[in-house]
């Protein structure tokens, strides 16, 4: 086992053992991120591989500033977003019915739900919702950051997020 700094240096030098260690350490964490941005496991694995490849390629540019995990996470997220950038047509404006029936900010139902079920629902989300929902609710990005990243306006990000949230609420209610 290498320490973090040593691990990074060894990975840059092309030490396959170190590369494998880095992969083993983070694959599950990043795979879960990829799952949230995709519809199928296969797709998520594709993004995971591309993302890790980018991480190894860019590793020598890492400046040891901020958390290493956070740095890698951003690469994975950007890879996932790039993956869908060409598929912008998926950014649908789905009409939501019966919104009124749902109380806003009702978090009780989520307490009982497992992450696994939520991931399944997130995977089913329309693409436009999915990215914004993931970035805002889970990754903790701000709307203005999302707008910049996805090249949309801040208000689009806000409205899409509100719709995504409601979409999730409706579909989780259905589950019950």
């Amino acid at each position: 086992m290498f320490s973090e700094k040593k691990l990074i240096e060894e990975c840059i030098a092309g030490n396959r053992k170190a590369q494998k260690q880095l992969y083993t350490q983070y694959n599950a964490l990043f795979f879960t991120i990829c799952l949230r941005y995709t519809q199928t496991r296969e797709e998520a694995e594709d993004i995971l591989i591309t993302g890790f490849t980018s991480i190894f390629e860019a590793l020598s540019m890492y400046k040891y500033q901020g958390s290493f995990e956070g740095w890698m996470k951003r690469i994975i997220i950007n890879t996932a977003i790039d993956h869908y950038r060409t598929n912008r047509k998926h950014l649908l404006d789905v009409e939501i019915e019966n919104i009124e029936n749902l109380s806003n900010g009702n978090t009780e139902i989520y307490q009982k739900l497992e992450a696994k079920e939520i991931i399944k629902k997130i995977q089913m989300m329309p693409e436009g919702y999915k990215q914004i929902f993931n970035l805002y609710a889970i990754e903790g990005y701000k709307h203005i950051e999302i707008a910049k990243l996805l090249q949309i306006s801040e208000s689009t990000s806000k409205s899409q997020y509100a719709k995504a949230k409601k979409w999730l609420q409706i579909h989780l209610e259905d589950n019950k």
Partner: protein, 301 residues
């Protein structure tokens, strides 16, 4: 405003993970094989440059070595100043020595009179070994070639932490104003690996016959093309006598992004993203051609 909902979502996924199939690693390691292999870390930036210089012997014209971040790039120009070849050599410079600015080395040699040392040396070696030669081995092969005459000129070497190279700063600065002129090397043999000799720069300056001083003028290292009428263009403050300014702008990876054979401060950064770019500015001053090189940052906010 993050509400409880977002906080809760974040918490749910904080401690949750699923594992990908084992197939992923084998696919990834296939990809990793394709990533170009890095030169092992070196503790001295100047030794990286030396390796590059060694690998350029036998090629023609001027080699510009740019060391910045992780890569060292060599540009070759022909005698009529066209950029004909770019070679990118991956090299690792210790983080402490990574420089934001570029360091430029100009290498000139007489291609007619000098046998090509590398090709000559490799003749003696079975062909299948040729590719496996490391740079280090090449250096040792080149070393005994006594008639390798070339002048190593440098500019802005301050950032390279090699004290012996720094000593020659002043002499070579004057010297670098000369166009490619291999005749000054006649009778003087400078073996490439001896660059760290203190005697090296003085040998060069002895052969200095003519003194032409490059005009001093300001080329900015930053501008902000954001349309606010302040520093919107890359303005080179040419003195009056300077004519035929020829500007090339490169990305950090060596791609030509902008070229203007008669530059009059019209480059606005196009639609290029904020970042550092490299430029080469050639101009005529008192019927002599000069080159200025450096980096420029585009910063819109």
């Amino acid at each position: 405003m993050k509400t409880d909902f977002e906080k809760h979502m974040h918490d749910i996924f904080e401690n949750y993970s699923e594992t990908p199939s084992p197939q992923c690693w084998s696919n990834l390691s296939n990809n990793l094989d394709k990533i170009p292999h890095h030169v092992p870390p070196t503790t001295d930036a100047s030794s990286v440059i030396m390796q590059i210089i060694q690998s350029t012997i036998g090629k023609i014209g001027i080699g510009v070595v740019v060391v910045g971040g992780i890569s060292a790039t060599v540009y070759f120009t022909t005698k009529n100043q066209e950029v004909i070849k770019e070679t990118v050599i991956q090299a690792i410079v210790e983080p402490a020595q990574i420089v934001d600015d570029i360091n430029v080395i100009t290498l000139t040699k007489d291609e007619k009179e000098i046998p090509l040392p590398i090709s000559k040396a490799t003749k003696a070696i079975p062909e299948n070994n040729e590719n496996t030669l490391t740079t280090k081995e090449q250096i040792s092969i080149v070393e005994p070639q006594e008639n390798v005459n070339y002048a190593l000129q440098k500019e802005s070497m301050e950032k390279i932490p090699s004290s012996s190279l720094n000593q020659s700063q002043k002499q070579t600065e004057e010297h670098s104003n000369q166009p490619i002129n291999p005749s000054l090397d006649k009778g003087q043999t400078i073996d490439a690996p001896k660059i760290n000799d203190a005697s090296f720069p003085s040998e060069l300056s002895e052969s200095q016959t003519e003194e032409i001083i490059q005009p001093r003028f300001n080329i900015p290292n930053i501008f902000s093309p954001n349309g606010d009428n302040k520093n919107d263009f890359f303005v080179i403050e040419n003195p009056e006598d300077v004519t035929e300014g020829h500007l090339y702008v490169y990305s950090i990876t060596g791609k030509v992004l902008y070229e203007n054979k008669n530059y009059h401060n019209e480059w606005d950064g196009q639609q290029l993203p904020d970042g550092i770019y490299l430029y080469i500015y050639k101009f005529i001053y008192k019927e002599r051609e000069f080159i200025r090189k450096g980096s420029v940052t585009i910063k819109r906010k």
